[in-house]
Symmetry: C2
Subunit: 239 residues, 2 copies
């Protein structure tokens, strides 16, 4: 199994890589080693910011960003619905927008086949590690079958490196909620209203309000709904 050894070698180099440039070198080496047209790492954070690195043509990347294809791309939508690596064929391409998107992607040189590994983070973070290739279904089925394990391993190692590049958001995210705030916000997120929360926590409705206001302030939220959204996105509450 020389392929595996070569892969492991690249992964070891990846561990030593520094900066986005290092990741770029590694991803090209991996693409070459796995003998596919494209390999891409795509990161989306809770604010909707995204970045990535990979071998897609820059024009396509630019187009994708300009058109805000993030909200159209069935790969994004589909992987948001899944735990597991997914073959693009199994995604939902039924909408008109999706088919137009697919056609355009192929015209830019993105392969007609693809396979993406989703990785989900605590703050609404979401990363995709993708291989894409032009070829028929049979070839591609063989590829995905033999390389699923490798893709898993690669995506994990790569993602870990990519996280090191993330600007440290802990200062703003470190705003933890107090236990009672967590209680209150959690119950609200579960569909309770303030009165029910108060009863459930055996405190006055007004106290609940103080907690929610406090949580709202800490989370920089405009209202309760916003606060709940942020608390969930940041993994502060378990709904």
């Amino acid at each position: 199994m020389t392929a595996t050894t070569a892969l492991e070698h690249i992964l070891e180099e990846l561990e030593q890589a520094e900066g986005l440039a290092g990741l770029q070198i590694a991803i090209e080496a991996l693409r070459s080693e796995m003998n596919v047209d494209h390999m891409v790492y795509h990161w989306v954070d809770s604010a909707g910011d995204q970045y990535g690195c990979g071998t897609y043509p820059p024009e396509w990347v630019q187009r994708y960003l300009d058109q805000n294809y993030l909200r159209v791309d069935p790969v994004i939508a589909g992987c948001y619905q899944r735990f597991h690596p997914v073959d693009w064929k199994r995604l939902d391409w039924s909408s008109k927008a999706a088919r137009a998107f697919q056609k355009e992607a192929i015209s830019y040189g993105v392969g007609n086949q693809g396979f993406s590994v989703p990785i989900r983070g605590p703050n609404g973070q979401f990363a995709l590690f993708t291989v894409s290739h032009s070829g028929n279904d049979a070839e591609w089925a063989t590829f995905t079958k033999t390389h699923t394990k490798n893709m898993l391993l690669i995506s994990h190692v790569f993602n870990r490196k990519a996280l090191d590049l993330e600007p440290d958001r802990t200062p703003e995210h470190a705003q933890a909620l107090s236990p009672r705030e967590v209680d209150a916000v959690t119950l609200l997120a579960m569909g309770y209203n303030r009165a029910q929360v108060a009863q459930s926590l055996a405190i006055s409705e007004h106290t609940v309000r103080v907690y929610v206001e406090s949580a709202r302030f800490k989370l920089g939220a405009m209202d309760t709904t916003h606060a709940v959204a942020r608390a969930i996105s940041r993994g502060l509450i378990v709904v």
Copy 2:
């Protein structure tokens, strides 16, 4: 590398396993193969329901459920904050409740060392694949270093099998939101109120209301906050 071969053999058997009983057999084989005290798969879904299988003493599992330790367990809280496998030592055990929990866990036979792989799903689903062992820090460091890759692979395969056992929730979860509903709910989740959403979408405030009510109905939510929480948990909106 006979260890790897044996592991792969077990994983192949796991692929064939059927039912929770099959997983139980597999997890015991894996525990034995990796030579640790305990191996556990723990699943938490968006409703707060949980189940699992593994080698923890039944008394501890019962105690955990009875006491609702889900909301205390630093392994749960910590893995909710992380992308990556984590050594229990790196978690936050500073709170009184956490230390009491740890002490009680050890008294029930859970090892003092542990290593958990978090896997996050689209519907607020969350699974943990854990190995736990009693031993000193040096031994454990060696173990984690050599077995991280295996743990990744195992947790993936195991999780995929476990998902097959999940009751099919697609009927209730398949309730996708219409594009405008997604727009409205997304903006609400971003802290806009109805009037702002209306302005932002260039539609009447009343229309926004119709969308939100519709989304609330589809999501089975009690109010807007609940609807937003569910939409985020189910990955229907990207905040």
